[in-house]
Amino acid sequence: MWMIEIPPFIPFLIGALIAAFTRGVLRNILMIAVPIISGLHLWMVPEGIHLQFAFLDYQLSPYRVDKLSLMFGYVFHIAAFIAIIYSLHVKDTLQQVSAMLYAGSGLGAVFAGDLLTLFVFWELLAFTSVFLIWARRTPQSYVAGMRYLIIQVLSGVILLVGALFYAAENGTLDFSYIGLDGIAGWLIFIAFGIKCAFPVAHNWLTDAYPEATVTGTVFLSAFTTKVAVYALARSYPGTELLIYIGAAMTCFPIFFAVIENDLRRVLAYSLINQVGFMVVGIGIGTALAINGAVSHAFNDVIFKGLLFMSMGAVLHMTGKINGSDLGGLYKTMPKTTILCIVGAASISAFPLFSGFVSKSMVMSAALEEGYDWIWLMLLFASAGVFHHAGIKIPYFAFFAHDSGLKASDPPKNMLFAMTISAGLCIAIGIYPSALYALLPYDTGYNPYDATHVLAQTQLLFFSALAFVWLNLKGMYPPELHSTNLDCDWVYRRAMPLVFQNMFSAIWKIDRMVRDTIKEKLGHSFTYLASKNNRLSSLLSRNHPSGSMAMWVAVMLAIYLLLSFVK
């Protein structure tokens, strides 16, 4: 059937075009229709490679469908659908168009069957998403977007170089298992790692996401990192290094998340933390672990989206997002409060919520493979997640001290989008086998056995206790109006400083050297000139056409010399 050959990014491209040229209700209807139609279309498509053509000396397959890619394809459609609904009230063509393109490139990347196609969408992801950040139109967002863009493009360039080396080594551009042997493998690994927000390379995320628009962040949280997770799952399953990287990713953001004041930035940190779980799963590489990673990615898209949406709603209604400025909103925004709590419960992996059914898979896999220490770290991280995402966010935003803000619940479309997400969170939590049916491997795993449920609940309660105790004692870190700088200090402060200094130093040295040379030359020439009675004008030698002609003579001499010497 001809329909099969239409890769899912095409409808989104068309959607972007539509968004660019239509207005008002028509645009809204069409935009909602795009993910629905495209999703149904994807539902029909059988597995296999549906599109292939030759480029240079290689076979490219921009549309490859298998279980792994389908899984991400579905969740991206869902995320796009929800986010589009969430942003229906926005009247900014730039945002709508770039959001559509962004979702499209995410899908393109996921269904890419070769590294070159992947690279194209990889870069498109960066270029289309940056407008979601810039669309906020503040100086900070511009600068943050710029940093974001540079890092993302850099990742793409590294990917391209890696692909190049890969092609030179293996004579193929297939996007399948790559592994860490050879320079190509490492380069591609680094490229994926940047996009995946590996520690040290994570700052673009916490830097840029909170600066994006209310709706932009919802889109952003769904695609970029998940594409990277997908790519890792495709090319590096079972790479042990990933386990340690992932474990680190789960733990370190917690500290920052606890002290961070901007609630959306807290969520950004927790995003890294969640991605860490997936990375660990991929690193373990068993069927169960991969399943866990993938399904956690699936769930994370939904519940992290929900959390970003609820915080977005708060920002949208109050214009404030810092924990210290908010509080007491539960009275006026009851629906948002409830939805937010659903999201928080999901991310904290409460039983019967979606986070539980996937996170526990990763943790079980870690135990099964004998990574006890890793399991402990993950456990700690889970507690941390609950602490900052599960409690801190709803608490500071909706309860805590009354900030006196009287904002009502957000527009209907926002609420509706959040409701869908919340519904999904609960549905998956209660009936996980629907999700499990989509997974790449069949493991017969059941999350609801007694040990799991008990262990998790215990953990959550102790964590809650800690929060309450800390808060009561007044030992909880105060929410300060500050930007927390971690590693991004390097490029936000140090690099400009270093570069400025370096360049000014270079210019200075350069000028100094030139001046001294000039002076020295001047002296010697004046000396010579005074001897020859030809004043100083030896200096005025640099006449372009004269020097050009001289270069000709010099080159000739060099060639001759070289050929005679041989």
């Binding site: 005025s540 006449h543 372009p544 056409s545 004269g546 020097s547 002609a549 001289m550 000709v552």
Partner: protein
């Protein structure tokens, strides 16, 4: 027998004199003169390589058996024409430059150009600031 190459040495010397004039002189007319000398040296190179000892001009006539090589002559006829064409165009440029800059000294022109450049840049920065 290295003396048998003296023609080539003359050519090299002339060539380098021409090149030196182009490099060292700032006067535009002198540069063109240098170029002409440079080109003429090439003519000499070609013509002298065509010469055959005891040969005569390549016009067929009774009783002459040995001729110099006609081909380089043909080539150099063309090259001379090219030379004069270049000179004419170069001189036309000199006239225009003289009108536009009021000088035919490279130094002055270079100086004036730098000034114009500075001015345009100044304007640009002013425009950006305002």
């Amino acid at each position: 027998m290295i003396i048998g190459l003296y023609n080539d040495w003359v050519v090299v010397v002339l060539m380098m004199i021409g090149l030196y004039i182009v490099i060292a002189h700032g006067n535009l007319i002198k540069k063109i003169v240098g170029l002409a000398i440079f080109q003429t040296s090439v003519f000499i190179l070609y013509i002298s390589m065509a010469k055959v000892e005891g040969g005569s001009a390549p016009i067929l006539a009774e009783g002459i058996k040995q001729f110099s090589n006609p081909l380089p002559h043909v080539l150099i006829l063309t090259a001379i024409v090219v030379g004069v064409a270049t000179t004419a165009l170069g001189l036309a440029l000199v006239i225009r430059i003289n009108e536009a800059y009021g000088s035919i000294e490279e130094e002055d022109i270079q100086h004036l150009d730098n000034q114009t450049q500075d001015e345009t840049e100044l304007q640009a920065t002013e425009g950006e600031q305002s």
